[in-house]
Structures are given as C-alpha cells and as structure tokens.
C-alpha cells in the first residue's frame, strides 16, 4: 500500500519536473523560465522525496531524505534568486527599482 502511494507521489513529482523543463524551454524570458524551474525544483523534489520516504525502512533514511530535500530546496531557491538578481542588474530593458 505504502509502495503504491510512494510510486504515485514520485510519478507526480516527475510530472512537475517535466512541466518545469517544458516551461524552461518554451517560456519567452528569463524570469518566466525561472518561475517554471523553481516550481519544478520546489514541488517536484518535495513530492519525490515524500514518495521515497514512504518506501524507506528506518528512521536514519528518513532523516537523510529530509536533510537532502531541505538543502536542495534551499540551494535551488538561492540559485533562482541569484540568477534573477544578476539578470535584473545586467540585462537591458529590465527595470531596476
């Protein structure tokens, strides 16, 4: 039962990653692309981590999965911020206010 639920969550997470990738390739400018990418990172990874956690046996694995999720999420958010910040300061036609 847990396995099926876990697989379903991982599947949903994959959908978010695919959608994020499509958005990254199709959206017109860097901020829309970042929007698509950070959704994939944030939600997709959270769903996959949750799915894997349901299949894990042992508290040690659960803690490790939680730590991986936390640090990848923080790093992803920081990266998105840094890219947007750099783009806002250097690209022409982007208002800096």
């Amino acid at each position: 039962m847990l396995d099926i639920l876990g697989a379903a969550l991982i599947g949903q997470g994959t959908v978010f990653f695919v959608a994020g990738t499509v958005g990254l390739l199709r959206f017109p400018d860097i901020f829309c692309r970042l929007h698509a990418l950070t959704k994939a990172d944030g939600l997709g990874l959270a769903l996959i981590a949750l799915g894997v956690a349901l299949m894990a046996d042992g508290v040690g694995y659960l803690v490790r999965i939680a730590l991986i999720w936390f640090f990848v999420a923080v790093a992803g958010a920081t990266c998105g911020h840094l890219i947007a910040r750099y783009a806002r300061r250097t690209m022409p036609g982007v208002r800096d206010d």
């Binding site: 730590l67 640090f71 923080v74 790093a75 920081t78 911020h81 840094l82 910040r85 300061r89 250097t90 690209m91 022409p92």
Partner: protein, 324 residues
C-alpha cells in the same frame, strides 16, 4: 522483455557522450562550462551504475563541483580582462581569439593517443575473471582499514596517492607564481540571500566533509572526497566575503599546502627507517597512521582547492578598499 535498467543505462551512456560532444563544440564559453558540469554529474551517475561509489563521489565533488567552480571563476576573470563583465554582451561571450589550428591538432592528436591506449588496454584485458578483488580481499586484514578502496589508496598503492597530493601542491605553487602580477577581478557581490544561504549551509558542509573522511575507513569516502567537500566551505566563505584573504595569512596557507604531502612522505620515511619498506605500516599502528595521513591530507586538499579558486596569492589592501 528488456530490462528497464538496461534502457536507462543506454540512455545514460548516450547522454554522457552527447554532453561531452556538445560541451566541446559549443561556441559560448558559459554554455560550455554548464554543459561540462552536467556532463560531470551524469558521469558520476554512470560510476554509481558501474558499482564504483568511490569514483562517483570523487567525480561529483572534484570533477564536477570544484572543477566547475574553477572554470566559472576563470570565465569571470576572462570577462574582467576583456571588459565584458556585467555587460549584456557577456551573455554570449565567445573566445576573443580563435584557438590556433596547430594547438587544436596537437590536442586532438594527444586525445587520440590516449583513446587508442585505453582501447588497447581494454581489448588486451581479460574478458572475465576475478580481477584483483580476491587479492585485495585477502590482504585487507593487514591494511588496518575495512574498506578495500581506502586500503588500496593509502596502503597497497600509497605511492600513487602521494604523487596525486604532490600534483595538487605543484598546481597551487604554479598558480601563486604565475598569477603574481595579474589583475584581480573583483569578486561578485551576491547579496544578503546568498550570505544567509552560506551561513545556513556552512556548518552542514563541514559535517558532511568530516563524515566522508571518517567514513572512508570502512565505506566509500576518504581524503579526496572529504577534502573537496570541505573546499566548498572555502568557496562559500570567499564568495560570501565572510573571509577575505589577507597577506598575513600567506604563511599559514603555505604550511597548510605542504602539511599533507609532508606528513605523508614523513610517515613513509619513518616506516622505511624502521627496517621496513616504505608504506609497510606496522600492523598495530596501521589504522592510526592511515587516519593521520588522511586527516592531514584532507586539510591540505581543502585549503589548496580553495586557494586555487581564489587564484592569485593574497596581496596588500589599498587604502581605497580595492586590492592593489
């Protein structure tokens, strides 16, 4: 019905080759670096699939993480020198001058020779057989550690590892000599969010790096992986400006560079002085000696990689705040 994991492996192999070709052929330097980093991550995954987690860790930490950071830092420097830093055209910066044809051909010839050598070695190797697994497993109790890879790296084959540490030392000496007179591109200002990120992750990276080093005695991990992860601490400190290198730190840095090599060679000489072959550690002290060497080599690797990222040796600050 084909095994789904086989399809995954084939896709992975195709992706690794495709990324390598793309990284070499693309004109934009930044895109080339990003492709190279992706290539490294997928290579690490390939090593996992080949049941070589030690190599995967090294590839991910050194081959991808630290090398990627070094390449990006070099690009930053190049953009500073060519005056395209923080300018719109920097988004599509291409090499200022094309690589001369003789250099291209010489590189191609050397790469061809290496590929040829690998092919000869691969075709000449026995197709199936036990390999060295049995020999290593048999000798493992004498090494003082429980992980075969660590036993090979620091006991059975320690000369190679010593030379790898020496190579790193030579690299940092070279950089400090050559970059003495070059202009120093200003470090990018990354803002408060990055500062907070650095503060949050720094303690975690220290724990992970130390864990990798300690775990190396019985499971995948060890000095090079741990050192590369700890070097990330140096990178974050430098990028977030929580640490600014000062000229007065040069002495400490020099000691840290040679610490690993010095202790490694010193232990070998001491062991050899006791009527044994170099690196034939006395069994009762083997684990202590290996951990001592690994610990100090880790410190050296971490400091050296961080210094390579910083580039030139720290110079005196000018009164106006810029570096002289």
């Amino acid at each position: 019905m084909t095994d789904p994991i086989l399809i995954f492996d084939l896709l992975l192999a195709a992706a690794v080759v495709a990324l390598a070709v793309a990284s070499l052929s693309v004109r934009d330097l930044f895109v080339a670096i990003v492709l190279f980093i992706t290539f490294g991550l997928l290579s690490a995954l390939a090593w996992v699939r080949l049941a070589a987690p030690d190599v995967a860790l090294a590839e991910a930490a050194i081959g991808t993480g630290v090398t990627g950071a070094l390449l990006l830092k070099t690009l930053h420097h190049l953009r500073y020198v060519t005056g395209t830093l923080n300018r719109p055209e920097a988004f599509s910066v291409t090499p200022a001058a094309p690589v001369p044809a003789p250099v291209l051909w010489a590189n191609a010839a050397f790469c061809g020779l290496i590929t040829l050598g690998l092919a000869v070695a691969f075709l000449g190797a026995p197709r199936s057989g036990p390999g060295f697994d049995a020999l290593v497993a048999e000798a493992l109790p004498q090494s003082g550690v429980e992980h075969p890879v660590t036993a090979v790296l620091l006991s059975f084959r320690a000369y190679d590892t010593l030379m790898e540490v020496v190579v790193l030392l030579a690299a940092v000496i070279g950089v400090w000599q050559i970059e003495r007179g070059l202009s120093d591109a200003p470090a990018p200002v990354l803002g408060e969010v990055f500062q907070g990120f650095a503060r949050l992750t720094l303690p975690a990276i220290v724990v992970v790096g130390t864990y990798l080093l300690w775990k190396g005695a019985e499971a995948p991990g060890g000095a090079f992986q741990g050192g590369a992860v700890l070097a990330a601490v140096g990178l974050l400190l430098l990028l977030s400006r929580l640490y600014v290198p000062q000229p007065s730190h040069r002495g400490v840095a020099r000691w840290a560079f040679v610490l690993g090599t010095g202790v490694f060679a010193g232990v070998a000489l001491l062991v050899a002085g006791g009527g044994r072959v170099a690196f034939e550690y006395p069994p009762e002290h083997a684990k202590t000696l290996i951990l001592l060497i690994e610990g100090l080599v880790t410190i050296s690797i971490a400091v050296t990689l961080a210094a390579l990222f910083h580039g030139r040796e720290p110079v005196a600050l000018r009164t106006d705040g810029g570096r002289g």
